[in-house]
């Protein structure tokens, strides 16, 4: 069974240590909820877990192999939704999803279903620059549905979403976790989803 | 070689001394700048560390 763990990870921003000595281990079907005030290094930590940033010290392992050693193989099983939506303004919603699918070895047929699930079918053929911030956020989250990944790392997924979108997102998380995958998420609100086990980590600023 | 001959450098004095002058000037500047900067950095670090310890208390 897959295991995602870190040992004594230290994250730095401009030579100032933000997070140090962080260790956790995530099994399949588990959710890790990271909480912390603004500027406490949540985003930096998440970007380090994705392999975008390098940790100043410590190690991040997937099935006991360092993620930087795994390289592309780790990126094949990881999906990341950061603060930036990663959505091209001049492409339509459908085109954006098709690009995400092809880049992450997903299947094109899933695109229609993903748009439906996130309630974006009506806007599928509009350039995303005319969509609202909430709609663009939902499009970014729709990316999670078009490719089979074992690990999701989500940075404030619920920020800017209306009530029923949050409910939809919580259902998606529940389905995903019951299928035996793992989620690392930062959010200021409680997450009601059927995770086998939820771990909490609080970062003090 | 008398002093005045040395200065005139066989008529090329202007060139030789301006070249030597500029080179030595640059070499000396490169020693002075780090010396002065060191004082500035130490002072800035002292304030930083003082503010850091105050923050921690």
């Amino acid at each position: 069974m897959n295991r995602f763990e870190t040992s004594k990870v230290e994250c730095v921003r401009g030579d100032r240590p933000l997070v140090s000595g962080l260790s956790f281990s995530l099994q399949h079907g588990e959710l890790l909820h990271i909480v912390g005030r603004n500027g406490s290094g949540k985003t930096t930590l998440l970007r380090t877990l994705c392999g975008l940033s390098r940790p100043n010290a410590g190690q991040i392992r997937w099935n006991s192999t360092d993620i930087h050693v795994l390289g592309d193989d780790y990126r094949a099983l990881l999906a990341y939704v950061g603060h930036a939506n990663g959505v091209q303004g001049d492409l339509t919603a459908a085109e954006n999803l098709h690009v995400a699918t092809r880049l992450n070895n997903g299947t094109d047929t899933l695109v229609k279903g993903a748009l439906e699930r996130m309630g974006l079918t009506r806007f599928a053929h509009l350039p995303t620059k005319v969509l609202s911030q909430g709609q663009r956020r939902r499009l970014a989250l729709a990316r999670l549905l078009v490719s089979k990944k074992n690990l999701w790392i989500l940075d404030e997924p619920f920020a800017g979403l209306d009530a029923d979108s949050v409910a939809v997102m919580e259902d998606i998380l529940t389905d995903y976790l019951t299928r035996g995958c793992m989620v690392v998420v930062t959010s200021h609100q409680k997450i009601a989803c059927g995770a086998k086990a939820t771990q909490h980590i609080t970062l003090d600023s | 070689m008398s002093w005045s001959e040395f200065i005139s450098m066989g008529g090329y004095g202007g060139y030789v001394w301006s070249a030597y002058g500029f080179a030595i000037f640059v070499l000396v500047i490169n020693v002075i700048i780090p010396m002065r900067r060191r004082g500035v950095v130490l002072k800035a670090l002292r304030q930083f560390i003082v503010s850091q310890t105050v923050q921690e208390k």
């Binding site: 730095v12 401009g14 100032r16 | 066989g10 090329y12 070249a19 490169n30 670090l45 560390i49």
Partner: protein, 245 residues
């Protein structure tokens, strides 16, 4: 592991502090003797008269401008692969010194060329590639200055230095090629005079003197740069603390 002991900034700071005075004295000594020998003892060149004495500064600094860039690129590569802060600090400390040597080479080169060709600037192959090398140094320093986050600044500048060091031979070859292509008959290459044996000694002294000078100044720059980079550590607090009294 020796490497870790000396490479740790904490040990580097006092070690450099002890080395600098000795290096400084040696540098001054060598440069003084070298210059005295070059100006007084070396015979006059039959062709260029006294103006050739500028080579005792021009040639060693031209060599240093290239040598320092290679050191900078190597330190950058070290910093990129092993993430050692000392290597990053060494690379950024090298840049201004290398740029200064390039400037000295350009100025002394054009002053030396004036009596021969009557103009201050000549598109001679070596002077032109030296000018491009100056732009490479300025690019390095500008890139490093415009990135706030010190780690990214050092690594981005290291990549630029490595791309630069690969391009220097290509640039030099293309400028040589360009120079021979557009060779106006009158301009002879910056003719190095036939090196008389007694000229070799001061030249050699100046070479070694400049290397010692480089070592002294780079260590001086690195000492306070490493303090800045390590300002969150305890040892810096102690060092800065003691300096206060």
């Amino acid at each position: 592991m020796i490497y870790k002991k000396y490479a740790s900034p904490k040990n580097f700071y006092p070690l450099a502090g002890r080395l600098i005075p000795w290096l400084g004295v040696l540098t001054v000594l060598l440069l003084a003797v070298g210059l005295y020998w070059g100006l007084f003892v070396a015979p006059t060149d039959y062709q260029q008269g006294e103006s050739y004495r500028i080579i005792f500064l021009h040639v060693p600094s031209a060599w240093m401008s290239m040598f320092v860039y290679v050191i900078m690129a190597a330190a950058g590569a070290l910093g990129l692969t092993w993430k050692t802060k000392l290597a990053e600090v060494l690379a950024s400390a090298c840049a201004p010194i290398g740029a200064s040597f390039t400037l000295v080479t350009l100025v002394t080169g054009s002053i030396w060329g004036k009596p021969m060709w009557g103009t201050w600037w000549v598109w001679d192959a070596r002077l032109t590639s030296e000018l491009i090398l100056l732009f490479l140094y300025i690019g390095f320093m500008a890139l490093e200055a415009s990135i706030e986050e010190p780690r990214r600044a050092a690594r981005a500048a290291a990549v630029l230095a490595l791309v630069g060091v690969v391009n220097i031979p290509i640039i030099h070859f293309s400028v040589e090629w360009w120079n021979t292509l557009h060779q106006p008959a009158s301009v002879s290459k910056l003719g190095a005079p036939s090196i008389h044996p007694s000229m070799l000694v001061p030249l050699l002294m100046m070479f070694i003197g400049f290397k010692l000078y480089f070592a002294t100044v780079v260590l001086m720059r690195m000492r306070y740069a490493i303090l800045e980079r390590e300002k969150h550590t305890r040892w810096v607090a102690e060092v800065v603390g003691t300096k206060a009294q």
